[in-house]
Assembly symmetry: C2
Homo-oligomer: 156 residues x 2
């Protein structure tokens, strides 16, 4: 399929929460973790409100030419002492709507995050991608990311 | 060597910056990235000031019974929509002074971060550790972390 000609990246609004949750749930790993209800459970809105108050985090969505939300990404800018006091960008929760995959949406939204982290003075951008997401790893490698680290998690 | 009997975890202060930078630099990867000068370059203090204003980030140090700083860790609490709007804890920049390794300092400081993330309502704790740090990966596995993800980085 052809690349989507016009993709707009903008900050997520409260009325995007439902479509973002649907994208998070439409995924082999996410389907077991999310609760896809209409309206979305209150815990998602509480998290959205926490994000609105977190000036270091940007939750953004990708819109197609008709204004439909077809992707999302969360970028955190994190100061720290290492690397001579350089900030780093952490990319999380990247998703593209199933029917829009392989059409340049993921690339556009990740490139936005990389440019934004760079503009905010970060020395690097990092992310964790599940070991089973081999396609995602290939995608990020194509954008210049190195599989330099092991991402370790402890779930409660 | 025996475990250090009494380790105190406390928030880092401005006058800890030098010893933290020394720990960050005393490391095969860190030695190439840091600037070990006395006093430390201003960029480290600027980063410390940014951390002081970041209420979601805690930079902590481990003190031995004599009040010497022998370890450090940075914990970020990050809200997000995924996992039903659960926050997650991100552990970064874990270091233990060379002469105090294998004496329980790392375990104590990481366990502090895990407990703190849990107390703040996180559903998981995550970290990236460089692929070459095999000992670190074994250490985190012993504390219950799974090597579930690939940690990808893009340095500018």
């Amino acid at each position: 399929m052809a690349a989507i000609s016009s993709i707009t990246i903008r900050h997520a609004r409260r009325d995007d929460v439902g479509v973002i949750v649907a994208m998070l749930a439409d995924d082999p790993l996410g389907s077991a973790r999310e609760r896809l209800e209409d309206p979305p459970p209150a815990s998602y809105f509480r998290a959205f409100e926490a994000l609105e108050h977190a000036s270091h985090i940007q939750l953004v969505v990708a819109e197609d030419e008709d204004g439909a939300v077809i992707g999302c990404l969360q970028l955190c800018i994190l100061p720290g002492l290492s690397s001579q006091g350089a900030s780093r960008g952490l990319i999380e929760d990247v998703r593209v709507a199933t029917h829009c995959r392989s059409r340049g949406v993921g690339e556009k939204i990740v490139q936005w995050a990389v440019a934004e982290a760079r503009a905010k003075g970060c020395a690097l951008v990092e992310l964790l991608t599940h070991s089973t997401r081999v396609d995602a790893q290939r995608f990020y490698a194509r954008l210049g990311f190195q599989p330099s680290h092991v991402g370790m998690t402890l779930r409660f």
